[in-house]
């Protein structure tokens, strides 16, 4: 089983999407994947669906990064 993330792309300036995950009650976020900007979903197969996790994403291009999205948890 995997946890599937989905989001809506905004604007056309991004060149990639960066996905970060935070485990359970931890405070530390870990960057787990970078995808092309055309991506709108991702399956996190490396994380047990039985363990609480939080996700956030941001977009980036050659000039910098966007702010973070809202946090999605399960």
């Amino acid at each position: 089983m995997a946890q599937k993330l989905a989001w809506q792309r905004t604007g056309d300036a991004a060149s990639r999407i960066i996905i970060e995950r935070r485990a359970g009650a931890q405070k530390q976020w870990t960057e787990i994947k970078t995808l092309p900007a055309s991506a709108a979903s991702y399956e996190d197969t490396e994380w047990s669906t039985l363990t609480a996790a939080a996700y956030r994403i941001r977009s980036a291009n050659a000039y910098g990064k966007s702010g973070y999205s809202d946090i999605a948890t399960r």
């Binding site: 977009s59 999205s69 809202d70």
Partner: protein
């Protein structure tokens, strides 16, 4: 007693912010000349002085700012006057007209040699630049609507961020 509008920025604040964005990193270039070809329409409408200055961005791109220093009251807005404006030494090939007050950018038709025909003069700053003047780097936007879905035992749970409360909601 404070009213709801007391803490709203005045409209001129936005105009000043746009002026700062357009001209903040520029330098005056006296070699850029901008003159009204026929001042009669201007002088018929107002005795206020007409100002025009040329600037160059860090990359050397020209931008011309002009306005009529007319003092008006909100109840009696100044009607724009159309004039022919001759500019020199700008290198502009594809001119656009920038209205800092209205926050609009529109292409100017131009044959490449004669003055700009019938451009509006207002009591607020107008500017003319080449369309490639706007080459600023654009940061990407924040992706929206992030959600996590888990399929387990045939049941599908969807958990997403609730912007209002900062807590997840289930459906």
């Amino acid at each position: 007693m404070h009213g709801p509008a007391d803490f709203q920025p005045r409209p001129v604040f936005h105009t000043m912010a746009r002026a700062n964005a357009l001209f903040g990193d520029t330098r005056r270039d006296p070699s850029i000349q901008a003159t009204v070809v026929d001042r009669a329409p201007l002088e018929a409408a107002s005795q206020a002085p007409f100002y025009a200055y040329g600037f160059r961005s860090r990359g050397g791109k020209a931008i011309v700012a002009y306005w009529l220093a007319e003092r008006v009251h909100l109840k009696h807005p100044f009607e724009p006057v159309r004039v022919d404006l001759a500019v020199e030494n700008t290198g502009i090939q594809h001119p656009v007209l920038i209205d800092l007050d209205a926050d609009t950018v529109s292409p100017l038709s131009w044959d490449g040699s004669s003055p700009f025909r019938q451009v509006p003069v207002r009591d607020s700053i107008m500017a003319i630049a080449d369309r490639n003047y706007f080459d600023w780097n654009v940061l990407p936007e924040i992706p929206g609507g992030l959600r996590v879905e888990v399929s387990a035992h045939g049941a599908k749970a969807c958990v997403a961020a609730d912007r209002r409360r900062g807590k997840p909601y289930h459906h």
